[in-house]
């Protein structure tokens, strides 16, 4: 603890030396961003009928669910008294932005995501229950919630309901992540956070990261299954990723230019921080490697005629850089916002521990956990139903 004082440069209010929100709070907007982004990609197919992205529809929904299930865990782990977290449901303080978290989360999880996945998979679940025996049958029977009707009318009703849920889902996904932005953007004491642009920047960066991860997972899963990548699909996703990225980058630049031009009382302090302790993470990793390079790569794939193989390579690199850049953006918002003193007279240092409750190890675990959850979900609810054996031989011939 005493070592913390050596990380201080200039003057911090004494209570500010120690950082309050750790790497776990960086994970929270990162994970929910992936959820919102993946869902919005799925709704492209459902609501806007972009048929080209159909191969990723179910994958996107399952990805959103896997990340949403893990998203509250870092928050829970961070709380001084996790056992009291239910108080937020029982006695929410209505003026608090944070108090709404539980309600928005449950709404999104139960009324949107789980419902939509269930409707999408109901036919498969019923068929799986009919075709299996023993515990497996019992499991799918429970998942089917007693439904067994696969008539044309019933399936049409599924589809219509699912369309409505998606339609409600889009503003809900906006709410889920715009709200996360609001938690930071509404803190007037902190000039690094306090901007009405924060929710909308969070929203577009969420779309960018969610689209990137589904793109990456689709290519990875297809490769692992030994199938051919649907190029029309990845090209379309790549295009939407580029569009979302351009809007996201414009918004972030607008914020930056506004800050530079206005140059209010906090500007010199923040400017110095960006040029020193945050330089690598903010300028090099977030803006150059995590934004400009992937935008250039995606634009390249769009305008230059590249071979399929080259385009896949471009998409893999662009998506990986994107995820790194968005993670850096979350880091720079959460951690960067606590590195300077609210007196604007000094800076502190974030020292991440390793195997402690809020250390690097649990953070890595929580970043990997959604992939394990996703793997399990994909086993239970295959996103790409296997074709019958005879059609498979034709496909592979």
């Amino acid at each position: 603890m005493e070592g913390l004082l050596h990380g201080v440069e200039g003057f911090m209010y004494p209570n500010e030396v120690e950082l309050q929100w750790s790497v776990l709070i960086v994970l929270y907007p990162f994970l929910t961003g992936l959820v919102a982004g993946a869902f919005i990609l799925a709704s492209l197919e459902k609501v806007f009928r972009v048929e080209a992205v159909k191969p990723t529809y179910r994958l996107a929904l399952l990805t959103a669910l896997a990340f949403l299930l893990v998203a509250p865990l870092p928050l829970q782990l961070h709380l001084g008294h996790p056992e009291r977290s239910l108080e937020m449901f029982v006695t929410p303080h209505t003026s608090s932005a944070m108090a709404m978290f539980g309600f928005i989360y449950v709404w999104y999880l139960m009324a949107v995501l789980v419902l939509e996945i269930w409707l999408e998979y109901r036919k498969d679940i019923v068929l799986a229950a009919r075709a299996s025996t023993g515990w497996k049958q019992r499991f799918y029977r429970i998942l089917a919630l007693g439904s067994d009707n696969l008539s044309a009318g019933a399936l049409r009703a599924d589809d219509t309901t699912s369309w409505v849920v998606s339609l409600v889902g889009i503003p809900s996904a906006f709410l889920l992540h715009g709200y996360v932005g609001f938690i930071f953007g509404s803190v007037k004491a902190n000039p690094w956070w306090s901007t009405p642009l924060m929710p909308i920047v969070f929203l577009f960066s969420a779309m960018v990261s969610g689209i990137a991860i589904v793109l990456l997972l689709y290519m990875l899963a297809t490769w692992l299954r030994g199938r051919l990548i649907d190029m029309a699909c990845v090209d379309t996703i790549g295009r939407y990723l580029l569009y979302a990225f351009v809007i996201d980058f414009s918004l972030e630049m607008l914020d930056l230019i506004h800050r530079i031009y206005e140059a209010d009382e906090s500007f010199k302090t923040l400017d110095f921080m960006v040029h020193t302790r945050l330089y690598t993470l903010q300028v090099i990793i977030q803006i150059v490697l995590g934004t400009l390079v992937p935008i250039a790569l995606l634009a390249l794939a769009l305008v230059v005629k590249l071979s399929d193989r080259a385009r896949v390579g471009v998409y893999v690199v662009a998506a990986l850089l994107t995820l790194m850049g968005i993670f850096a953006m979350r880091w720079n918002v959460v951690i960067g916002g606590q590195l300077f003193s609210k007196s604007f007279l000094g800076y502190t240092t974030y020292k991440m521990s390793f195997a402690t409750r809020e250390g690097l190890l649990p953070a890595i675990g929580l970043l990997l956990l959604p992939f394990a959850v996703l793997w399990g979900l994909m086993k239970l609810l295959p996103p790409w139903p296997e074709p019958r054996p005879e059609t498979e031989t034709i496909a592979s011939a």
Binding site: G80, S95, A189, L345
Partner: protein, 254 residues
């Protein structure tokens, strides 16, 4: 629905309801009796603090008294009140040199010489007991709240330790107590002021630089002081309704 089933559902409903009620009642019993202050009426007070910057000599008595009285952790990262030393070499408002070694707990080792052309002074800080507290606004469960007597208090048995309030305070007045993992801050020595005493810091201040005042008490000298002095609050642009009034506050203080 057959009778047996209806009865069963009714019984389960009652049980569920009763369990909740019993849990609440048990919580109430566990909470015990609040510390008695029989003659204190919260609605008859509106507490504030006057800080006379020109009278502060940076002795650190207030910081020590506060830590002692309120059992504040002794490490240099936890303060309900602390003292800052401002040094303005050329009278440059924008670039003050500020330090607060151990929050002023051990006083200040001499650093600046009189007559070198610089401006030097001490600024005691504490929770501003804001009337429109950003920290109260953001608490997700209402564990921190504005009492009708104008103090901002914390219910430690209800605090989640989410630290949102620490982020929301523009003055850096809050910290997480490492022993309880809940938030802590100055409560104007609530256990003292509700019994007619003044705060520990005011009591220990040798120059009368800090004075507790009750704005609802017409006889309190705070009214006369506020009328006759040019007072200012910290960061007025934050519009927090701060009730820590500083006399002789330099424009460089933030």
């Amino acid at each position: 629905m057959n009778e047996g089933r209806r009865e069963f559902l009714q019984m389960s409903g009652h049980l569920l309801w009763l369990t909740g009620a019993a849990a609440l009642a048990y919580d109430y019993v566990l909470a015990g009796e609040p510390e008695a202050a029989p003659n204190y009426k919260v609605t008859e007070h509106w507490w504030a603090m006057i800080i006379d910057v020109e009278k502060c000599i940076g002795c650190g008595n207030c910081v020590r008294a506060c830590k002692e009285e309120n059992d504040v952790p002794r490490e240099p990262f936890y303060f309900r009140t602390w003292v800052e030393r401002y040094h303005l070499p050329e009278g440059d408002l924008e670039h003050p040199v500020v330090d607060s070694p151990n929050g002023g707990y051990d006083g200040f080792p001499e650093k600046y010489r009189e007559g070198d052309g610089s401006k030097n002074f001490f600024v005691p800080k504490l929770c501003n007991q804001c009337a429109h507290s950003p920290c109260v606004q953001v608490c997700p469960v209402g564990a921190t709240f504005e009492s009708p007597d104008g103090t901002v208090l914390v219910d430690k048995d209800y605090c989640l330790g989410c630290r949102y309030c620490v982020q929301a305070c523009p003055y850096g007045c809050r910290f997480i107590d490492p022993r309880t993992n809940t938030v802590d801050k100055c409560n104007l020595c609530y256990h003292r002021i509700t019994k007619g005493l003044t705060t520990a810091c005011c009591e220990a201040c040798p120059t009368g630089s800090r004075q507790l005042g009750d704005l609802k008490n017409p006889k309190d000298p705070i009214h006369e002081f506020l009328r006759t002095h040019k007072v200012q609050v910290l960061k007025p642009h934050m519009a927090t309704g701060s009730k820590a009034y500083y006399n002789g506050l330099d424009g460089s203080v933030r």
